[in-house]
Amino acid sequence: MASDATLNSFSLEGKGALVLGAEHPVGRAAAVTLAEAGAKLILASREPGTDAQLKETAKAVQAAGIKPILRVQNAAIRADLSATADFAAKQLGRLDIVVNALDTPWYGPAESADDSAFEKVIDNNFKTVWMACQEAARVMLRQGGGTIVNLTSVLAQRGVPHASLYCAAKAAVLNLTRALAMEWARQGIRVNALETGWLDEPASPANADEEFRKTLLKYLPSNRLIAPEDLSGALLYLVSSASGFVTGESIVVDDALMCRV
C-alpha cells in the first residue's frame, strides 16, 4: 500500500556507510538499522581485540541481508581512523554516511579522579569522535558531501553526580556536532547527533547496581530503559535523505525524561 517518494526517502539503497564502534550494543543496533534500510556497510571497532564481538554484529547485519566488511581498529589512534576512512571510501565507492557510536562510560568521584582518568574519558568519548569527524569530512569534502551522526547522551545537557568527566565529554560531542554542522553546511556535509536516555546495555550503570536500577525505573516517565534498538528510527531519519534540511540538530530518544528535568 505504502510505496511513495516520502517513505522511499528513508531508503539507504546504494549508499555506503561506516559504523564506528560496531562491536558494542549501540553500534550493533545502528549497523542493523542501516543494513535493513539497504546500505552497504563497513563495520569498524572502537578498540582492537574485539574480533569476536564484531563478528557477532556482522551476523546480525547479515540476517538483514547485507554482507558487511569488518575492520578491527583503534578509534583512539589517528592513523587507524584515517586508514579506515580511506579504506571505506575505496571499498564503498562513496562514503555517504558515518555513524560514530564511540562511547566509554566512566563513573567516579571528581575529587579523587586523577589525570589519567581525564585523559581516558575525554580521549575515548570526545577525541575519538572529533578525529572520526575530521577523517570522515576529509573524504566527504573530496566527494562533495555526506552525513555524519554522533551518538551522545542526555547527560550532555544535565549534571549527574559521579559522572563529571563523562557528562563533560558528552556535552563536548553535542556542541562539536553543532559547530561542525555550521562549518560544513555549505559544503554538503550534514552533522547531527542522537542523545539517548538511560540505556539498557551491559556497560550501563543502570545495570551495575540493582538498587540504583530500581530507583531509576521508578523515576523514568515510562518506567523503562532505552534499548539500543529504540534509536533505530531517529538514526535512520538523520542519516537518510529524509532529513535533507536538518543539520546541527540532536534528536533525544528518552521516553520523555528530558521533559521533567
Binding site: 505504502a2 517513505l7 528513508f10 515510562s222 528510527g233
Partner: protein
C-alpha cells in the same frame, strides 16, 4: 524491520489547517504512507481540494470544516473522526496563524490582537489535544504532533504574541508527553525553520541566504519528519522538539557566512 515501522497503514490521522500549505502537504504524505485522513480547516472549498488529492492515493478523507479556536467545534471534530473511523491514532496540530500585531511596539498591541493570536496558535492546540486524549487513552496508543517554530525558543524584536504562543506550544508538548507516557501516547514538536509559501516571502528571506544550509525549506521536506514522528519508528521519542531549519538553531552566534579571522 525499520522501513516497515515507518508505514502508517490504516492509521487515522486528524490534521488541522489541512486546507492548504503544510497541512495539505502533510495530509497527502500521510495518505501516501497508508493513513486515512480527517482534514480540518475553516474553508470548505479548500478542504474539498485537499480531499480530492488524498482520495487519489486510495485512502479515505473525511472533511470537517472547523474553527480551531472554538472548543465545541474542536470537540465535534474529534467526535466526527471517531464516528467515521472508530479511532484516532494521530493528531497533527498544524493550524495556526501569523501575528496581526507583529512589528508593532508593545504599547500599540490591542487586547484583541493578543488574545486572537494566542487562541489561534496555542489554545487551538490545547483544545485539540484535550478532545483526542480520552480516545487515545482508551486505545493505549496515540501520537500528537504539534507545530511550533524557532520563535518558540528564541526572542524576536517586536514579536511578542508569536514567540509566546509557540513557546507555549513547546511547553504543552512536554507536559502532555510526561503525563501520558505510561498510556503509550507520544507528543512531539516539529520546529520548522523558513518555509516560504509565496514569492513575497521568498524575497523577504532572500532565498534562504541566511540559513546555514543556504536555502529555505520545501513543504515536501516536512513530510518525512511528520511521518517518522507519527510512526512506530518514533515510539521512544516523547516530548522532543525536532528542528527542521537548515541548521538555524545550531548557530546564530555569528551572522551566517561570517567566519572569525583570528590567528591560528
Amino acid at each position: 524491520m525499520i522501513l516497515d515501522a515507518l508505514k502508517l497503514d490504516d492509521r487515522v490521522a486528524i490534521i488541522t489547517g489541512a486546507g492548504r500549505g503544510l497541512g495539505r502537504a502533510m495530509a497527502v504524505r500521510f495518505a501516501e504512507a497508508g493513513a486515512d485522513i480527517v482534514a480540518a480547516a475553516r474553508t470548505l472549498s479548500q478542504l474539498e481540494e485537499t480531499a480530492a488529492i488524498v482520495l487519489k492515493t486510495g485512502r479515505k478523507c473525511l472533511i470537517v470544516p472547523t474553527d480551531v479556536t472554538n472548543s465545541q467545534a474542536v470537540n465535534d471534530l474529534a467526535a466526527a473522526a471517531i464516528n467515521e473511523f472508530g479511532k484516532i491514532d494521530i493528531l497533527v496540530n498544524n493550524a495556526g496563524g501569523g501575528d496581526d500585531s507583529r512589528g508593532k511596539p508593545i504599547t500599540e498591541i490591542t487586547d484583541a490582537e493578543w488574545r486572537r493570536g494566542l487562541d489561534t496558535n496555542l489554545t487551538s492546540q490545547f483544545y485539540a489535544a484535550r478532545a483526542v486524549i480520552p480516545q487515545m487513552v482508551k486505545q493505549s496508543r496515540g501520537k500528537i504532533i504539534n507545530l511550533a517554530s524557532g520563535y518558540g525558543l528564541r526572542g524576536g524584536k517586536h514579536n511578542y504574541m508569536y514567540a509566546c504562543s509557540k513557546g507555549g506550544v513547546i511547553q504543552l508538548t512536554r507536559s502532555l508527553a510526561l503525563t501520558y507516557a505510561l498510556n503509550n501516547i507520544q507528543t512531539n514538536c516539529i520546529v520548522p525553520g523558513i518555509f516560504p509559501h509565496n514569492e513575497e516571502m521568498m524575497r523577504f528571506f532572500k532565498g534562504g541566504k541566511f540559513v546555514p544550509l543556504g536555502r529555505t525549506g520545501e513543504d515536501a521536506e516536512l513530510g518525512p519528519l511528520a511521518i517518522f514522528l507519527a510512526s512506530d519508528a518514533a515510539d521512544h521519542i516523547n516530548g522532543e522538539l525536532v528542528a527542521i531549519d537548515g541548521g538555524g538553531l545550531a548557530g546564530g552566534i555569528l551572522p551566517t557566512g561570517a567566519i572569525p579571522n583570528l590567528p591560528a
